[in-house]
Symmetry: C2
Subunit: 461 residues, 2 copies
């Protein structure tokens, strides 16, 4: 993991936020290569799941919404983690992280009835992971929503929240979408956007951060008559999610489904599958797929008094559609991609080359343009000409500093699938070498057919 963090900083994928001020609260920024990777992920997702599908529409809702939305969704009262503080070293822990989730749930139930709660805590919990002593406060529910104040007065009436998920923005706009887009069931609403959770213990690099981005779909289906009817759509999206994982080039063997047991399901869900990735720090949730029933629309109707039902255009019947929800985290996708693509290859000469084996479709730079020598004006001129010609079509990096071997290694670390070298032969016969990142094989290609050749390589996977 340390190798990946260091590579990600060195090559400009991920920087610690506000680093010159000592960093801040496990926030991270995407650097030049990081943001291109993110852009490729988000654009591919949007094209795949929204633009190229007649049964999907997009939306983009605000981060600060009416606090009534979060009262209705249950987040104001219930979106909290059990916070326990060590009285010795003042470290803060999530109770459900000190034990397993099911053990914690049992303990919570016992605590409700217990007379000597302090004693029960002392008996049930392991020592503080930080100071190894055992002297805890009682757990208290800590709400994970970031609070802010809208307008010049800071009090309860002006309190608002940063959204902890993008989903509610889609539910509250259900009527607006229906009336403006004229969609009929089944159809989905998709959104990409930031969400915020005031985590007690953010950790594992960009895996759990307080500010993160979601790509989310709420797929609305007719009221199912039986289990099979919603399961069909659930399984359809399950397959779609696996295909997306394939598209990204993440190896299937590193991802596994975790069908959440009934007793651990969220209150709104009848079934949830977590897609878990084998991260170096453990097998953890990458994506999620949930059947949310008609919980959200029904609840918003109850709280807002607006009719949130769908009217079947053929039968005239009114009902709350049911919802299948595939969710994808942007930062977790980036992290899984970095981990999955990272490779250290032993070379014949005994050295090691570090290479990110990104699928060409999502690689931040497609082509590196390398003039063999930076002090030969004809070669530099030719290289610049080629850059200018292909830059409108492929994201490029022009690099002329250091030996050609060093530059290849730099591009390997950036995951660039193609290195294009301009050398003395180029000036004679108008060809360049194209070097393949994975095989390191080089071949000469005529400049006239560059666009075609590069397109072929990029689209091969």
């Amino acid at each position: 993991m340390q190798k990946i963090i260091s590579l990600a900083k060195r090559r400009g994928f991920i920087f610690p936020s506000s680093e010159i001020y000592g960093g801040f609260s496990s926030c991270y920024d995407f650097g030049p290569l990081g943001i291109e990777l993110v852009e490729n992920i988000k654009r591919s997702w949007w094209n795949r799941f929204v633009r190229s599908r007649p049964d999907m529409v997009g939306i983009s809702t605000t981060i600060i919404m009416s606090p009534k939305v979060w009262q209705a969704s249950g987040h104001v009262s219930g979106f909290s983690d059990p916070l326990i503080e060590c009285k010795e070293c003042h470290a803060r822990h999530r109770g459900d992280n000190l034990l397993s989730e099911s053990q914690w749930k049992k303990l919570e139930k016992k605590l409700e009835k217990a007379k000597d709660k302090e004693k029960l805590i002392a008996l049930s919990l392991p020592s503080c992971p930080d100071c190894k002593k055992k002297n805890y406060t009682l757990p208290r529910n800590f709400n994970l929503m970031f609070k802010t104040f809208v307008g010049p007065v800071e009090d309860e009436t002006s309190t608002a929240y940063l959204r902890p998920e993008t989903a509610q923005g889609m539910f509250v706009n259900f009527n607006n979408i229906i009336s403006s887009s004229r969609k009929t069931l089944p159809f989905g609403i998709a959104q990409i956007g930031k969400a915020f959770r005031n985590e007690i213990t953010p950790k594992n690099y960009i895996f759990r951060t307080r500010e993160f981005e979601q790509m989310e779909i709420e797929y609305f289906i007719p009221e199912p008559k039986n289990e099979k009817e919603w399961q069909k759509t659930f399984d359809y999206w399950r397959k779609e999610m696996w295909q997306w994982i394939d598209f990204l080039g993440i190896k299937r063997k590193n991802v596994k489904e975790n069908d959440i047991p009934k007793e651990e399901l969220a209150h709104y869900s009848k079934r949830t599958i977590d897609f878990e990735y084998k991260f170096p720090f453990g097998t953890k949730e990458l994506y999620g797929l949930a059947y949310r029933t008609d919980f959200d629309l029904k609840n918003h109707e109850k709280m807002s008094k607006e009719n949130m039902k769908y009217r079947d255009p053929k039968t005239g019947k009114e009902y709350w559609p049911h919802v299948i929800e595939p969710t994808f985290g942007v930062e977790r996708t980036v992290l899984a991609l970095l981990v999955d693509a990272f490779d250290e290859e032993k070379m014949e000469d005994g050295t090691t080359r570090t290479v990110l084996r990104f699928s060409p479709a999502i690689a931040p730079i497609k082509v590196a343009i390398l003039p063999l020598l930076q002090n030969k004006p004809e070669i530099v001129k030719k290289a610049k000409e080629i850059e200018k010609a292909i830059l409108p079509f492929f994201s490029c990096d022009y690099d002329q500093s250091g030996s050609i071997g060093k530059r290849y290694r730099r591009q390997d670390e950036a995951g660039t699938p193609i290195c294009l070298t301009v050398d003395f032969e180029t000036l004679k016969d108008n060809t360049v070498t194209l070097r393949d990142r994975d095989t390191m094989h080089q071949r000469r290609v005529d400049i006239g057919s560059l666009k075609e050749e590069i397109t072929k390589i990029i689209n091969k996977d």
Copy 2:
């Protein structure tokens, strides 16, 4: 203006946020057409100013940064508006909105020395625009940054802010960018992202909202030896901004430059030009171009004690680069586009058709696919086939409900450049009609050449 707001809601461009809960604090959501328009704007901007330029890199920094960043930038102490309350009706006003900006500045200076400040305020200000009485509080500086608390304790040590601009994220990452991307001067860093300002009086629909998105460039140049040196780059970006306005299809006659007088410049700027658009509610800032000198890097060096200088690779000289900053607001671009494209055309039959004359390159839907009759299975089947064939290349809308005339009008209101109709002739000779949004001229085109014909129309402007 009311017509545009109503059209934007009806067609799914812009919805009031949290509308089922009575809306919230002049926040707005982008609906299905709105988000496609926004996507087209942001992607075009990114491709134009980042991906296709060797002298630019992108970045994406967090919304919640270290509070030290905002202390260093001067936002904690100085990013405020003068808040004045009417004691009669409790309306809140910005002092500098009750007067002209220069009048207000003069009044502020007088207030510093005045003995009877209440009297001076009463003499200098007009009556309350809301209740027409004149009984004001004294002005107080109200900081526009949204505050929040990071971690479980709510106090000063945990206070953080939602960024009021994206610019600082680029400055604090200057060293990381230089060392990872190996760029040499001149070069720029670009970012697209949300920013937040707790405006006293948000207004004019999506023109001034508390949550908004910026597309911003910090372009770093060598320390200029004289005025001419920075003015050259300033003028270069000025032209680039006009060309961007042309690309969007916004009419030049509706935009004018406002070269801000020296006495009104922000403290960090030596020159600023506002690009102002003739909105229905007045001529107001659309974009901005500022010469920020070396203010930001110098200041961050002073506050962080990190070396923020650039080392010239040839001469070895170290200095703070100077900065030219072109800024583009996403919501203001959308609003200017809606206003600029909106047209009501008198028809021969006396009716009026409402049409959004978007440039095809940024129109949310490129092609509407309309089966002439929805109860003829052969026609519907053919239309669906065509949709499937062209959807991977162009964003489409399939619409089969209502008369063909009504459907044309709906697409005119959405700004769709091409309506493609499948009729009885299609079944005979494999042709469809393409209707041009602006001329309403129709012509028959062979299905085999559809992709080519549509590409030609989309790229024509």
